[in-house]
Symmetry: C2
Subunit: 303 residues, 2 copies
């Protein structure tokens, strides 16, 4: 199955205690697409400015990533700058220059409309709805969101949630969305808002997958050298939906494997700077990491 | 195998948003012993005051818990008071009245000296060393510690670490002990200080077990109704060492199962108030929870 994703293609300026790089190609759609393209063809909907040249587009080239839905508009490409501190879990955003993204109106090419799997990355829920309206009968729809939309666009977000199969958000956002501290109770409340599945990203603590009468907990793959956490969540989503699209199955056991694949992709992502690792690894690396994952979490439950 | 433990027997006054109870029997040795006694006989070394009556001792009675090493001294029993907030991960200590615990000098009964498994709960490392000196050839020694000793008794703690097989501490303490934020690198540094195994408690995020060339990650058992987190860490340690003592095996796979048992005991502990659940559950409950644990973490690693 093919995947359609809508999200940002951006320039990221990233500083860590160990390295600094300016205006490298990033954004949620970039990380998602690079990660998902290991498993299934991806069609991207986004917008870039005049400063986004052939050499930038080439980062996404040579793979099954369709860029027909990436509009080129007068103005500057979305630019985001951040600095990570010694504890890589903490970062300071230095700049958020929306550029052409401020007036982003998703334009869906005709050949995108039959796509079977849709992932709505973290953008304005009104735009997520527009994209969803333009796709005929998708077999699987997932979305991400953030505190900004939970606070400011609650009603539109509610309409998105009624129409998605899977919501992927981080732990703090689940608590905020449900107004409930206990993560089990918060998850139950979010499932009542529409999605059949809730995938909770916990960063270095792994991931939880909730469905009706179904629960799966997976620790994160341990990484000794975290070089740049940027894009980890979108790499997870790319691996998760990419794997589901390739399996064409969306049951509980497929989701468990998808969570392992997503975690593997996120672990590769953070080991390198920017999307470097996603451009370099082979499918064999992903398979090996999934097997390592099994080894490091396995135990005999018959005590 | 039998287990010797040294730690506090105390009165706890606990307030949560849902309930409040004053001067119930608690302390690290209480939670550890109740939890471990499901699997192996326990010998306790501690001290209580004149206010610790027969009815309080009865909380630990009717089980394989030997209280010959619990000294009765003139004065008051250690009293600790705390209040948990709506987010049960946060608490405020309201009182720490050491009482007779301030001058605690462990006294080891003669019949304790051949005990095969020793667990040194979180007390002054000087006292941990005294207890260790009084036990002949134990097969397995574990210890806990805290930020207070890492800061204030670093040298003595270093001597303890050189003599223990296993260190059980929480995530923040590992980082503090190793002066290293990355948990993988911090663990490697701590293993160089002496222990063959490092067991990292992460609360609602589960547990990590590190050994040379060995790594195991286990999420926490999800609990919808956390009623009182008091004693969770000591209940974990009790289940962990109790299970190892009953198996008489200390290899990687035994440790993985021990971590599951410890996590199960901790999950029972936090579901009830004080040590109530540890007084009520049956071994069958622990076995069932271990199997549930397997179900909720299982996946096929061959993607």
């Amino acid at each position: 199955m093919d995947i359609l994703t809508v999200g940002s293609v951006a320039f990221d300026s990233i500083k860590t205690p160990f390295a600094e790089r300016k205006r490298i190609v990033g954004g949620s759609a970039t990380y998602f697409s690079l990660s998902a393209s290991y498993f299934a063809p991806v069609k991207v909907v986004s917008v870039v400015g005049e400063d986004f040249k052939k050499e930038h587009e080439a980062v996404l080239g040579g793979r099954s990533i369709d860029l027909a839905g990436v509009a080129h508009r007068p103005g500057k490409t979305f630019h985001w700058a951040c600095e990570y501190h010694y504890d890589m879990n903490e970062r300071t955003t230095l700049a958020t220059e929306l550029g052409v993204f401020a007036d982003f109106k998703p334009e869906i090419p005709a050949h995108y409309r039959e796509t079977e799997v849709v992932f709505l990355a973290n953008i304005d829920p009104e735009l997520q709805l527009q994209v969803l309206d333009s796709v005929k009968h998708p077999a699987l729809v997932g979305c991400d969101t953030m505190n900004f939309w939970i606070e400011g666009k609650r009603e539109a977000l509610g309409r998105v949630l009624e129409r998605v199969d899977m919501l992927l958000i981080n732990e703090g956002e689940v608590r905020q969305l449900a107004s409930e501290v206990n993560i089990m109770r918060a998850a139950a409340k979010v499932l009542k808002m529409g999605p059949k599945w809730l995938i909770i990203k916990r960063g270095e603590y792994g991931v939880l997958v909730f469905g009706e009468g179904s629960f799966f907990a997976l620790p994160a793959f341990p990484i000794e050298d975290v070089n740049d956490p940027t894009g980890a969540g979108d790499s997870f989503a790319g691996g998760f939906f990419g794997y589901l699209a390739s399996k064409k199955q969306f049951d509980e056991w497929a989701l468990r494997q998808a969570a392992v694949v997503g975690s593997a992709m996120a672990s590769f992502c953070v080991e390198s700077f920017g999307p470097d690792a996603l451009l370099r690894i082979a499918q064999k690396d992903v398979r090996e990491r999934a097997q390592s994952f099994k080894k490091l979490t396995d135990f005999d439950g018959n005590i």
